[in-house]
């Protein structure tokens, strides 16, 4: 790929975004739409700059919940997947309950968890974890079970222990699947954290971006609401890109998905 083409790849969506923002600003000004109905990008940017101390503190709170939930989802989802892969019976017994957790809407469970758990932070963490762990679990189970049959025979032929087969064959085979699940889970952890905050509606010093959105809407500070929303989106994109980079770095040597087409 040459430099010019690479530039164009980034320039095309960037220019489109700028054009949409300009059109938005132009329409808002032309029709004199008040800020409390629809603020223009300039007003939103101004709010973002003015409220940055408040918003950035809330951003850190939300990001912390999302990151911890993702770590918990990776540990528990990964361990459960390895456990499931040890025996079909364990998988058959437990998998339906994992599905139940996944299909039950988090907004419906969150109030219960908030009642049962004293610490709001822990409750938020649990909600975000419930949303994030399933893609990791189901993808990793699929990956652990899709090791090459002939390679598995080879391991058997050489008398490999269960542990050796897991460590040297099944886990590496599962890695691309796990990473694909991780990329989905990263976004879901953020969504889970925000949704749980909405339900909790917790205010005070340690409140996250979702509470800032609620607060701003009550106070009709719509530009701040949009600014918080933009921050959440930007974080989601950053998490997705970061996990994509992790995926690329781990797989670039050997996996088909990370290879560039030959030219």
């Amino acid at each position: 790929m040459n430099g010019g083409e690479g530039l164009l790849r980034w320039a095309a969506p960037g220019l489109l975004g700028l054009a949409v923002l300009a059109l938005w600003e132009g329409l808002v000004r032309a029709y004199a739409v008040p800020d409390y109905v629809l603020p223009g990008p300039v007003a939103i940017a101004r709010a973002l700059a003015a409220d940055w101390p408040l918003l950035s503190a809330s951003l850190l709170v939300t990001l912390e919940v999302a990151a911890l939930a993702l770590v918990a989802a990776v540990s528990v989802g990964g361990l459960l997947a390895v456990l499931f892969a040890q025996s079909r019976w364990v998988e058959r017994a437990l998998f339906p309950y994992a599905v139940v957790l996944q299909v039950t809407p988090i907004v419906a469970i969150a109030p219960l968890i908030l009642i049962w758990v004293d610490s709001v932070t822990i409750a938020l963490l649990i909600c975000a974890w419930i949303v994030a762990f399933f893609p990791i679990l189901s993808n990793t189970v699929l990956g652990l079970n899709s090791a090459d049959r002939n390679l598995a025979d080879l391991f058997r032929l050489y008398g490999a222990t269960r542990w050796q087969a897991l460590w040297l064959l099944r886990l590496p085979s599962a890695l691309p699947f796990f990473l694909a699940g991780l990329r989905v889970a990263g976004g879901l952890a953020l969504i889970g954290a925000v949704v749980a905050e909405f339900v909790a509606g917790a205010g005070g010093a340690g409140s996250g971006l979702a509470f800032r959105i609620l607060e701003a809407s009550f106070q009709l500070r719509i530009p701040r609401m949009f600014a918080a929303l933009a921050l959440i989106s930007a974080c989601g994109i950053a998490i997705f890109a970061l996990l994509g980079l992790v995926q690329h770095l781990l797989l670039r040597r050997w996996h088909e998905s990370a290879l560039r087409p030959e030219r």
């Binding site: 025979d153 058997r156 032929l157 590496p172 996996h255």
Partner: protein, 272 residues
């Protein structure tokens, strides 16, 4: 592997007839869980040092037979017996699949080292032996290469190096060159023969190619299908002891191919 092949060790003279078989199959049958009878009444002796080809049409149970010899499956009838002193199979067998079956996440060296690693050999010793095995198949200098960077023929060489790294006494090969182009296949055939001649290893080679089996083997077991069984055994006495590439174009080769083709045709026609 490119060195001219020395003639086989003297001990191989008449080995197949005189000494006790390394592995002997008696009345071996295999019925799968779904009821398919893959093999029935197979009697076969594998003599130490021979190059035995198992020749047959697709679906005649050749691969199943190889898996039974390797101990990857258990026969549902009859038995597979090893010569005394050779009972511990995993030390004795190298297996080459139809596909190279390499771990894509590991370098050529790590792929070849796998059997030694599974046996608990220290890393330094394992790497030294794996590098030597790669050199034997003509891949010195490719230790750090990833499987996807290698050509089909080179991947198969890595697979062969992995099978040889434990210094097995029996090398089982399941149509290893079927997916390769003809030139690559011929070169691998010659290199395999050189390896066989210099190491004294016993080879059981499954193939559906009459020409390949005649070129390589000291003996051919022709199989028939449904149920899979050994229909004929051909001793390749007319073939020169160290094969030269010119053998492919000789009259003796043509005659042996004709004989093997007839045997295969008869076996296939007899199938219901």
């Amino acid at each position: 592997m490119t060195a001219p092949s020395p003639s086989p060790p003297a001990t191989r003279e008449g080995a197949s007839a005189a000494s006790a078989p390394l592995v002997s199959l008696r009345g071996v049958g295999k019925r799968f869980a779904n009821g398919t009878l893959a093999l029935e009444g197979v009697d076969l002796d594998i003599a130490p040092g021979e190059f035995l080809s198992i020749l047959g049409p697709s679906g005649c149970g050749k691969s199943t037979l190889l898996r039974l010899i390797a101990g990857l499956a258990e026969p549902s009838a009859g038995r597979v017996a090893w010569a005394p002193g050779h009972e511990e199979r995993r030390r004795e067998i190298g297996f080459v699949f139809q596909d190279p079956t390499l771990m894509p996440w590991a370098t050529a060296l790590d792929n070849v080292r796998l059997p030694l690693r599974l046996a608990g050999l220290p890393r330094a010793e394992g790497e030294a032996r794996a590098a030597a095995a790669l050199a034997r198949v003509g891949l010195a200098g490719f230790e750090r290469a990833w499987p996807r960077e290698l050509s089909g023929g080179m991947r198969m060489r890595v697979s062969i190096a992995r099978a040889l790294v434990t210094r097995p006494s029996l090398l089982l090969m399941d149509e290893p060159f079927a997916a390769l182009d003809e030139l690559t296949r011929h070169r691998l055939n010659d290199d395999l023969l050189a390896l066989w001649a210099e190491s004294g290893i016993t080879v059981v080679f499954v193939t559906h190619s009459v020409f390949e089996s005649v070129y390589l083997s000291t003996r051919i077991a022709v199989m028939a299908a449904r149920p899979g069984r050994v229909a004929a055994e051909l001793r390749q006495d007319g073939a020169p002891a160290p094969r030269e590439p010119e053998f492919r174009t000789s009259a003796a080769y043509a005659a042996l191919c004709r004989e093997a083709s007839h045997a295969l045709a008869a076996a296939t026609a007899a199938a219901p």
